[in-house]
Amino acid sequence: MTEQQMVYRRILRRETHSSRAGAAIVVAVILILLCLAVGAGVVWLAIDPGLRDAMHSWSSGLAGDGFAPPPLLAGGAIVAILGLWLVLLALLPGRRARQGRIAGRVALLADDEVTANAIADRVARRLGVDRGQVRVTVARRAAAVQITPVSGVPVDQQAAARAVDEVADGLGLSLVPRITVADHGVLA
């Protein structure tokens, strides 16, 4: 049972967070290429003693005036951007718009859009407004519900919030309802 739960947790974690495999592969390939280049350079140095002098003169030529040549600058900028991207990938959680939970013998994975649709359906039915007059955005902890009222029919915000709670409870998610009612309604 516990093993099953651990498997479920791993699966849910994998499904609710975006994979870093692509970035890891890119980094590994770059590292391999760098190692190969360094190895080749060492061997070349051992074979050809003139190379050391050539490299020295090239690098001292670079240090001469204040600025490096544009190709080197561009290369540096690209490497810096790549590095920043990798740091962000490493630090950010990379959550996808899905939420999962484990209930007994099943693991449940719900796309946020699906949850939002279910909430919108329930809210529209509860309030007696057209489905198109309810827009729902689901985040990790909250569900934002925007309601366009029918002109002349007051919106029961508490009923809407209760409908959100019911759907969230049914899915086993805890979502704080945030209800906003548009200033202007539609004739319907």
């Binding site: 039915r125 009612v181 309604g185 004739l187 319907a188």
Partner: protein, 119 residues
Amino acid sequence: MNTDTGAYAGTADEAVPGRLSIRPQALQAVVAAIAADSTGVPVRWVTARLADRGGALQATVTLPANIGTDGGPGPTLLSQAETLQREVIEQTARLTARTVRGVDVRLAGVFRPESRRIA
């Protein structure tokens, strides 16, 4: 309204079998009919426009003033308009369960009930 939602809360959505929606044209026709009944002007002389104002309905009723027969002094135009406004608000709420917040009355022309017989 509160009692309604209280009733829904226990049972699921099955308590609500469907949804009532009224097309704007139908709503306007209802308002025009109410105005015609209230003033005694034939409904084909009455036009009603509805708009949204802050989530409630705003009605604009255009109709001729009913100045009654030549004989007795009828109600003034102002009191007629006030009665019309009240009737539109009350009857629209009763018939369609929609709140009308304001009624603009535009008197366009004159209607005399017996004018047809004279002509």
